[in-house]
């Protein structure tokens, strides 16, 4: 029994005792909040700072609109992997709280395959209003298991004072970077990104991979990460480090923040990052590049006919705990939080990207994101989910290690990707995923 639920039980017991003492005088008032009739939802998710205030406000409004439902906020760690671990432990114990789960974009298939979250199709959630990639990422075995709450998307940041025109190809990114670095007083780095051995490395790789027309797993569930397109993508990344040297070797130990510091201090021409740094980098008090940068999706390679501009998709989704007593009420809350008004409010308060495409035409979004909504929309439209599979986390770990080995030159790109493909295939066999993934 979770602490919250225990607490609720304790309160109900106390309530019952009062009823007996009062000799049934307040019986009507009391039955209203007895276990059978009151609907209590628990909402877990980001509850820090401005985001926390916003969530609390929206939950209050929801309760006013739905007098029969009480929503309690259950705090969970903000760190994604810690939250994931907690959720998995709770769900293994079949705990019904929190009734609404905030899932990272790559968790949905895992939770769906485990039977931990409920399919949402019977509620007719209006899928076509959301960006297609955000729906694909939340679909497993033909059913939708979570609604996209806000989107995170990989962006190419460019110093507009150093590179006037948005580069049309990856090759142009490199040549623009070299030109800007070579100029007098030019920045030390051409392009900075997240190259440490962690999930961020995969998100970056997916963008280069798409730019060369490659994929990790194809539509038939085949592992294709060692095909020639993928090898070329990895070779291109390696060339940025050791050939054209537009990327610093340090980036192989960097996460989001190190890349942001380099770019924000004026040390880089380009940066690959999520939307979050926009606010800090637009602040003249701490940023040397305020008003001097623009964002666009990562461009495609000019040499790969099948390549296309690709942005990695991140972000948060809301799903219903399969063990909750109140799935319908839970859906009501999810629908409310992902409704256009709430999404817009969220964008205005904390700058997170809405997942509904129509909102990008809304005048109120104009200043909310810190960048022109048109550029943000272009990025999300080119967004590609990472492999949509229940075994993503382990698949990602295999790739992280092999990509890192290739980038630090412990292995050749071809060799590293062959090793990754072999290990991913073994993983698929071990977990009995072969048939399911082919059907997906």
């Amino acid at each position: 029994m979770s602490p919250t639920r225990f607490f609720i039980r304790a309160k109900l017991v106390a309530c019952g005792r009062v009823c007996i003492l009062a000799g049934g005088l307040f019986l009507a008032g009391c039955t209203k909040s007895s276990a059978k009739h009151e609907t209590v939802l628990t909402f877990s998710g980001s509850a820090l700072g401005a985001e926390g205030t916003l969530v609390a406000k929206q939950l209050q409004r929801f309760m006013q609109l739905n007098p029969g439902i009480r929503v309690e906020l259950q705090r969970t760690p903000d760190d994604a992997s810690q939250r994931h671990q907690l959720y998995v432990q709770w769900l293994n114990a079949r705990v019904g709280n929190p009734s609404i789960l905030q899932l990272d974009v790559v968790w949905t298939p895992e939770f769906a395959a485990a039977g931990w979250v409920l399919p949402l199709d019977s509620y007719s959630p209006g899928k076509s209003d959301f960006f297609p990639a955000t729906i694909t990422a939340n679909t497993w075995a033909g059913k939708l298991y979570a609604l996209p709450w806000f989107a995170d998307v990989g962006l190419l940041y460019r110093r507009t004072d150093l590179v006037k025109r948005e580069p049309a190809t990856l090759e142009e990114v490199v040549s623009d970077a070299r030109t800007a670095m070579a100029a007098r007083g030019g920045p030390r780095y051409g392009i900075v990104f997240q190259g440490a051995r962690y999930e961020g490395l995969i998100t970056g790789f997916v963008e280069y991979l798409g730019a060369f027309g490659g994929r990790i797993i194809d539509d038939r569930g085949e592992v294709v990460v060692n095909r020639p397109e993928a090898v070329r993508a990895l070779e291109f990344m390696r060339d940025e480090l050791y050939g054209s040297k537009v990327a610093p070797l340090d980036a192989l130990t960097w996460h989001e923040e190190e890349a942001r510091f380099a770019f924000q201090n004026g040390n880089a021409v380009f940066m690959r990052n999520w939307p979050y740094p926009v606010a800090a980098m637009s602040d003249t008090a701490q940023s040397k590049v305020a008003g001097k940068f623009a964002v666009s999706p990562m461009p495609a390679s000019g040499t790969a006919p099948a390549g296309h501009s690709t942005a990695s998709l991140g972000g948060a989704q809301l799903a219903i705990n399969a063990y909750t007593e109140f799935p319908d009420a839970a859906y009501k809350l999810i629908a409310y939080l992902t409704a256009p008004e709430q999404m817009l409010e969220r964008a205005q308060a904390v700058g997170q990207y809405p997942t509904r495409s129509a909102l990008y035409d809304d005048i109120r979004l104009k200043t909310a994101l810190g960048v022109p909504p048109e550029n943000a929309r272009r990025a999300i439209e080119s967004a590609t989910p990472r492999p949509v599979t229940p075994i993503y986390t382990e698949l990602s770990e295999i790739l992280q290690i092999e990509l890192h080995r290739a980038l630090v030159r412990q292995a050749e790109p071809r060799e590293a990707l062959d090793a990754a493909a072999a290990k991913i295939n073994a993983l698929i066999e071990r977990t009995g995923m072969r048939k399911l993934m082919a059907g997906a």
């Binding site: 051995r197 070797l249 890192h404 080995r405 630090v408």
Partner: protein
């Protein structure tokens, strides 16, 4: 006859008196071990409930035997243990000999030496990480200023270089502990032995080889046993400093086990890994105690 029954009575009383202690040991040591072993005989993946939790016998152990990442991790662990402990013993012995001399401020020096040991490992590891950072790291700045190198060295993207901060940090942090254990050993040596040797004309080197080291052997062995077991279980230092990278080239077995158990939530396989680590450290401890005759109790320790 009567005597025997009285002995039996005493033995029973003895057992009754230690029973609570044995119970506690069983509860906190044997039960979890047994549970982990039982778990290791199952396929149990917390995030893949569709696989169920079937009994698979020694399948997890077979997988370990065929897992190149495990063998590599074992190699890294052994390398780390041997190199860092050798350095710690050498420097620790030197420190202990110095601290054993009579000089002013000896108490202060003995206390000051312990400071690195007192710092939590995670904090110490972060400090070393900052020192070795390629951009803005103190070490690179010093080396560049002194003219030894033109470009800052990126320490954490080559296995051979990544080991440098790892070993240095461990030596820095643990040498004081080693020195203190050895100092305790030194203080048990009768000073008159040295006086007698000096009268016979033995020089300092001879005294060290023939008096100090043989008499210090028990203390050295106790230090070795502690440090070997610590070394084999190294986790936090490497977790913070390199995360096991680049690739997996500095990953020790404890980090790999953590990864399998808590990141991937592979309870069966992770438990099997834990049992293997336990068996190795237990084997090492047995080897020291039986093979080298380390006495963990008594005067010499």
């Amino acid at each position: 006859m009567r005597k025997i029954s009285r002995l039996g009575h005493e033995a029973r009383l003895g057992w009754a008196l230690v029973a609570p202690a044995l119970g506690v040991i069983a509860l906190i040591a044997i039960f979890p071990l047994g549970w982990t072993f039982w778990e290791s005989l199952h396929l149990h993946e917390l995030r893949m409930p569709w696989l169920g939790k079937p009994f698979v016998g020694i399948a997890n152990y077979v997988e370990i035997a065929k897992d190149p990442r495990f063998w590599a991790a074992l190699g890294h662990t052994a390398f780390f243990t041997v190199v860092s402990i050798s350095l710690e013993l050498l420097i620790g012995l030197f420190l202990a000999l110095a601290m054993n001399r009579v000089f002013r401020g000896r108490g202060f020096v003995r206390a000051a030496v312990l400071v690195p040991w007192a710092i939590p490992t995670v904090v110490a590891a972060l400090l070393w990480r900052f020192i070795f950072e390629s951009q803005g790291g103190i070490l690179n700045a010093l080396l560049v200023d002194a003219g030894f190198i033109d470009q800052p060295i990126v320490w954490f993207i080559e296995a051979s270089k990544a080991w440098v901060p790892v070993i240095l940090a461990d030596v820095w942090k643990t040498t004081p502990f080693v020195a203190l254990l050895l100092l305790a050993g030194l203080q048990n040596i009768d000073l008159s032995l040295y006086e007698a040797a000096a009268v016979d004309g033995a020089n300092a080197w001879w005294q060290l080889r023939h008096i100090t080291l043989p008499l210090l052997k028990p203390a050295i062995l106790v230090t070795l046993i502690f440090r070997t077991l610590d070394g084999f279980r190294v986790f936090d230092l490497i977790y913070v400093l390199t995360g096991g990278g680049p690739g997996t080239s500095t990953e020790p077995v404890a980090l790999y086990t953590f990864n399998a158990l808590l990141q991937n939530l592979r309870f069966g396989y992770g438990s099997a890994l834990s049992v293997v680590i336990f068996a190795i450290t237990f084997g090492l401890a047995l080897f020291y105690v039986r093979g080298l005759g380390v006495r963990l109790g008594g005067d010499e320790a």
